[in-house]
């Protein structure tokens, strides 16, 4: 379970998140939606430890991890797929994966999930397409064997046929039951389909929250239109 309690954070003098609280219960999937600049990515950066909080607490499975560095949070089961299909561009696809583990069985496991990567193992990650890099980013994060997975706009800027593949994988992950998922996504329909509950974030504050599912589409759109 991931819990952000009364988090305030920002950059320099700018406050981006103001007293935000979000809970992702164990085994559940939660979506955070909002317009550009609402503070979604900042919220995730706080959760993984890339941005320190000015006030508030981050709890992971009940443990206060607010002061822990990101790598220590990863060791406690927090996985993060950042925005922008990030990878280590000068390393090959295989080296990106081997950064986490050299276990052939584990790597084979994630390659089963993303078979397209199998033929790209010796190619430098910087030369992959956006969709391939996103698959690599998710595969790499899955290798860290997270109990809590955070995904930041996983389908942003990716060609439609690959988006479907990635959506299928994410849907599968959210339905696994042993994995909690926090999903930031602008594609509201997909976000609500994949998750059990949602938060709407606008100008650094939570403005709406509720149960997910297709029925929530209108209320989320209404909340985001304000």
């Amino acid at each position: 379970m991931l819990e952000l309690r009364g988090v305030t954070a920002g950059y320099g003098r700018t406050i981006v998140l103001d007293d935000v609280s979000v809970v992702v219960p164990t085994g559940d999937a939660v979506a955070v939606m909002g317009h550009n600049g609402a503070g979604k990515t900042t919220l995730l950066r706080v959760a993984v430890g890339l941005l320190p909080v000015r006030a508030g607490t981050v709890l992971l499975d009940g443990e206060d991890v607010t002061r822990l560095r990101p790598n220590a949070r990863v060791r406690r089961g927090l996985g993060y797929v950042p925005q922008g299909q990030q990878c280590f561009p000068q390393m090959t696809t295989m080296e990106n994966l081997q950064l986490i583990t050299t276990s052939k069985a584990e790597i084979r496991g994630v390659l089963d999930t993303f078979p397209a990567l199998t033929e790209l193992l010796s190619r430098r990650a910087g030369l992959l397409s956006g969709g391939q890099r996103q698959q690599l980013a998710i595969a790499r994060t899955l290798l860290t064997q997270p109990r809590m997975l955070i995904l930041d706009e996983p389908t942003e800027g990716i060609q439609p046929n690959v988006v479907q593949e990635i959506e299928q994988v994410i849907l599968g992950l959210t339905q696994r039951g042993d994995l909690s998922v926090l999903l930031v996504e602008q594609h509201v329909g997909f976000a609500l389909r994949s998750t059990g509950s949602y938060y709407v974030l606008e100008s650094g504050r939570i403005t709406a929250q509720g149960e997910g599912g297709a029925g929530a589409l209108d209320s989320v759109r209404a909340a985001m239109a304000v």
């Binding site: 560095r69 790598n71 950042p82 990030q86 910087g126 860290t144």
Partner: protein, 294 residues
């Protein structure tokens, strides 16, 4: 023809020394982006380690072999200490790092002068390195050949560590995207320290090797630090293969220029050539090709 062969050998030998000095810098500056002006003093620390080892083990045939790993450890520990106490507080502040490490270099030089005196210290080369080897009709000093061997060995070792080990992957990941490396579980602070240890240690090995061709003095490093930076920059930041080519190119060009002009003019002309080259190709010999910057 004789002139060409002899200058090629002389240049290759100077290039090997430059490579050895620049290799550590290729890690700390090329990979980590830290402008460590005290790197030359790690060279000096390695050279004095060779001197002290010879004082303790009078048999010069074995003292050099003991001094090589010892020099690596001593300079590596100094580098680690510098990283933990000073440089770690100055990441992303290159000008501050440059100034502070320049000051640290001066302090280290003064400490060496106080401890060992201002007079150069000679380190006797082992008997198995005496003499010359006949290569293409040119008598090549065995000491120089040994330095080339050490340079190639260190290069191969560094490349193998970076390419094939988990530590190498962590170093490259940290260099390429620090935040991302943290979020996949890499302790970037720990990786910084190990990288700095390795880079400084290589300077120590270079210092030990230099005692074979030059006397050990407290300002030994100052003559090598600028050419070493030139090698890394001209080779392309973060590209070790670029440093290799740049080191040998500078060595060979310098040798020919020295032959046809004079030592000091050759240095000036070499600098001018490097500056002109960087005007045409500011990114150095090699760059990284990617489809995006992510």
């Amino acid at each position: 023809m004789d002139v060409i062969v002899s200058q090629l050998f002389t240049g290759a030998s100077t290039g090997a020394v430059l490579l050895l000095v620049a290799l550590g810098l290729a890690l700390t500056f090329g990979q980590m982006g830290v402008i460590n002006m005290a790197h030359g003093e790690f060279l000096m620390a390695g050279a004095y380690t060779a001197y002290l080892t010879q004082q303790a083990v009078s048999n010069s045939d074995v003292s050099l072999l003991i001094a090589l790993p010892l020099g690596f450890l001593v300079a590596g520990m100094l580098g680690l200490l510098l990283e933990m106490t000073v440089i770690s507080r100055m990441y992303h502040r290159p000008l501050d790092t440059l100034l502070v490490t320049f000051g640290v270099g001066l302090i280290l030089q003064q400490v060496a002068r106080d401890v060992f005196g201002a007079q150069p210290k000679a380190v006797a080369s082992p008997t198995w390195l005496h003499g010359q080897l006949d290569l293409l009709g040119y008598g090549y000093p065995v000491t120089r050949l040994f330095i080339v061997t050490i340079a190639v060995g260190c290069l191969a070792g560094t490349a193998a560590v970076l390419k094939y080990t988990a530590l190498g992957r962590r170093i490259r990941a940290t260099v390429q995207n620090r935040d991302l490396a943290e979020t996949v579980g890499v302790s970037t602070r720990g990786t910084d320290r190990v990288t700095f240890f390795l880079g400084s240690g290589l300077a120590g090995v270079a210092g030990v090797a230099l005692t074979l061709v030059t006397a050990t003095v407290s300002n030994l490093g100052t003559s090598y630090i600028v050419p070493a930076f030139l090698v890394v920059v001209a080779g392309g930041i973060g590209q070790i293969k670029g440093s290799v080519i740049a080191a040998f190119a500078l060595g060979i060009v310098g040798a020919f220029l020295t032959y046809y002009t004079s030592g000091s003019l050759a240095t000036v002309l070499t600098f001018v050539l490097v500056v002109a080259f960087l005007q045409i190709r500011p990114q150095g010999l090699f760059t990284v090709r990617t489809r995006s910057l992510a």
